[in-house]
């Protein structure tokens, strides 16, 4: 049975940037647009899959979600890749390797922190061998929350990364705004453990606030989600010792 295709029309997205004239097509516009179109749609992924999130990354690369359809192909070597997806807990033993692999990737490069372990260390945050978030030693562009995030969430994160790449090229955001230094109070776990009587009830709110403002500065109006703080009584401090965060000066992250 023959299929009637006379009514079918398809325009490649590139033609949006092309002026058509009879007999020839001329692309008017800057080469930057072309490069942006190219780099946003061929994000080759270097899966830095260490633990549980790696399995969900595999599920995202498999048939149900299929990252390939947006041009994202997982590759085994950092030298061919544009995006490093850090999926899983990074430990003290692994961190130097991650740093090295990140440095081996050619510019322009992006980093996606997938899952709460990569974002903040999750409940392993306080443990001697775990890095409290990879943004303490490599810059992160997109945070995909979840434990582990669904494959769809990773897909969404990559779409947001594409958006970011376009914004960068179009000059809506500068590189510094897109990838700021991580806030100093996230560099080191200074939050008391749950059953610790010394734990400040306000620390969790501070953490939420700084996480909400993370990476965007004043570009996004996040003030509306900030709750009004109750004025807390200063806790009686034995010997007026400040929080353990005070010694973070000498042990600041690289």
């Amino acid at each position: 049975m023959a299929v009637d295709e006379t009514q079918r029309t398809y325009d490649h997205p590139l033609y949006q940037h092309v002026e058509r004239m009879p007999g020839l097509s001329v692309a008017l516009g800057n080469i930057d647009q072309l490069l942006t179109w190219g780099s946003a749609n061929s994000l080759w992924i270097f899966p830095m899959a260490t633990s549980c999130c790696g399995i969900e990354f595999m599920a995202a690369a498999a048939s149900a979600v299929d990252l390939d359809r947006m041009g994202s192909i997982p590759r085994g070597t950092p030298r061919q890749c544009d995006v490093m997806v850090v999926a899983g807990t990074i430990t003290v033993k692994m961190a130097p390797r991650v740093k090295k692999l990140w440095e081996q990737m050619p510019e322009p490069k992006w980093c996606v922190a997938m899952g709460s372990c990569a974002i903040s260390g999750d409940f392993y945050r306080d443990i001697y061998s775990v890095i409290p978030g990879i943004d303490t030693f490599i810059p992160v562009d997109v945070y995909v929350p979840g434990c582990p995030p669904n494959p769809e969430a990773l897909m969404h994160g990559l779409l947001r990364l594409q958006e970011k790449i376009r914004m960068l090229r179009e000059g809506k955001l500068t590189r510094e705004e897109l990838r700021p230094e991580s806030p100093p109070n996230l560099n080191r776990p200074a939050i008391g453990r749950l059953h610790d009587p010394e734990r400040d009830p306000l620390t969790s709110e501070e953490q939420t606030d700084s996480a909400a403002g993370l990476g965007f500065g004043d570009n996004l109006n996040l003030a509306r989600i900030r709750r009004p703080r109750p004025t807390a009584e200063p806790r009686p401090q034995p010997g007026a010792e400040p929080q353990p965060a005070a010694d973070s000066d000498e042990e600041s992250a690289p």
Partner: protein
């Protein structure tokens, strides 16, 4: 030197033939075939491995230390992340250890649910293993990726069943000390039967793919032969040991849950090579399907979370004593050793050790790798199926 295999895992490389063309190759810690972060330092003579030194600990998250800090209720979502391919097994292992030490009765309905979940987890875990093993042999973009795609298609349907019950794809936190938190629905029963029907047919297809593929046979036949005696001596249990002729399965030999009432067929192979390990796992998938089918219609009515009078799930305290209980996870004997009497008068463990089958499986690498080529090493590592979260904890 081990008396059976003749391989010395602590071979002094200085004493090796000085005229040989030696090379050191690092497999990992970031290598697609290690399924995580695991490093094996290979000493090569030409392309033949003469010594393999594994290095673990790249994912050491201090779970055992964390378990000493948290209460027994808080521990259960933490241990989910150890064996992240079959998370429910970890929950069950901890819950069983606490129940055995406190003498808590689990209601029959919860036992049935645990058995069904355990077998479905085994199915999902073996499906993931099969897919990634195909990818290891065939390369990420080569022909092996097709098997990966097939297996993940099936795995998604199994994960969908769990999502129906618990709301999560994995890391369920559905088992508690004394029972389960989430009850199954009639739709779950219906969907499970339909899913199993599909998967059973597909397993036959995979067997066809494997057995009719000459490349696959060449790469697994006679590769990585693990001696049964060495396997027990290393503490290896589960499909790895059964492929080497060790007729041992905790579901049959030391029944827990409701396995005592069931007939569990244990498949063994005598060859002990990569091909035998594949066959054992494929047969186990079929057996899991059979067990679930057998019991899913006879789940008794009743409560799913039962505790002794006066005890609620939030007040589990083990004051003193030590205990160990274990179950048959997809990788072997997964056990929990609990020493009671930790913080807050026993609300947390003084010491909690997770006996992980993957660590034992990984410890046979120095015995299996020597004498093989680097490409065989990838095939062997694939069939060992170590889960790094469980090796390092």
């Amino acid at each position: 030197m081990h008396s059976v295999t003749g391989v010395d895992p602590h071979l002094d490389i200085e004493s090796y033939d000085p005229s040989a063309d030696l090379m050191v190759l690092n497999l990992g810690p970031q290598h697609p075939s290690t399924h995580g972060v695991f490093r094996v330092k290979l000493y090569l003579d030409g392309e033949i491995i003469i010594k393999a030194v594994p290095y673990a600990g790249y994912l050491h998250r201090g779970v055992e230390k964390l378990c000493e800090e948290l209460t027994f209720v808080q521990v259960i979502p933490i241990v989910d992340k150890n064996d992240y391919v079959s998370p429910m097994m970890n929950e069950q292992a901890i819950a069983m250890a606490c129940e055995a030490m406190l003498g808590i009765e689990v209601p029959p309905r919860a036992l049935y649910l645990r058995t069904i979940f355990a077998e479905l987890q085994r199915l999902a875990s073996h499906l993931l293993w099969l897919g990634t093993f195909g990818m290891d042999l065939g390369g990420a973009l080569g022909g092996g990726a097709s098997l990966f795609m097939y297996c993940f298609r099936e795995r998604e349907t199994v994960l969908g069943l769990f999502e129906e019950v618990t709301g999560c794809r994995f890391h369920y936190n559905t088992h508690a000390v004394g029972g389960n938190r989430h009850d199954i629905t009639p739709r779950f029963t219906q969907d499970t039967k339909a899913t199993l029907e599909v998967i059973e047919k597909r397993i036959d297809e995979y067997v066809e793919i494997f057995s009719s593929n000459g490349i696959y046979r060449d790469r697994t036949w006679g590769i990585g032969v693990l001696d049964g005696e060495l396997a027990s001596s290393l503490g290896i249990t589960g499909p790895l040991a059964r492929a080497s002729g060790v007729d041992h399965d905790l579901r049959r030999d030391a029944p827990y849950h409701i396995y005592g009432e069931l007939e569990v067929n244990v498949f063994t192979e005598s060859a002990g090579d990569c091909f035998a390990r594949t066959l054992v796992r494929l047969n186990e998938m079929r057996e899991s399907i059979r067990i679930v089918r057998e019991i899913i219609d006879s789940v008794p009515e009743g409560p799913i979370l039962g505790m002794k009078p006066g005890k609620s799930p939030g007040h589990i305290k083990i004051d003193a004593g030590q205990g160990y209980s274990c179950l048959e996870s997809p990788r072997g004997e997964l056990g929990t050793y609990v020493i009671g009497g930790g913080n807050s008068r026993g609300a947390s463990a003084y010491r909690l050790k997770i006996r992980s089958p993957s660590l034992h499986a990984a410890s046979c690498i120095p015995y299996l790798f020597p004498g093989h080529t680097v490409s065989d090493a990838v095939a062997i590592l694939g069939t060992l199926d170590p889960i790094m979260g469980e090796v390092d904890r």
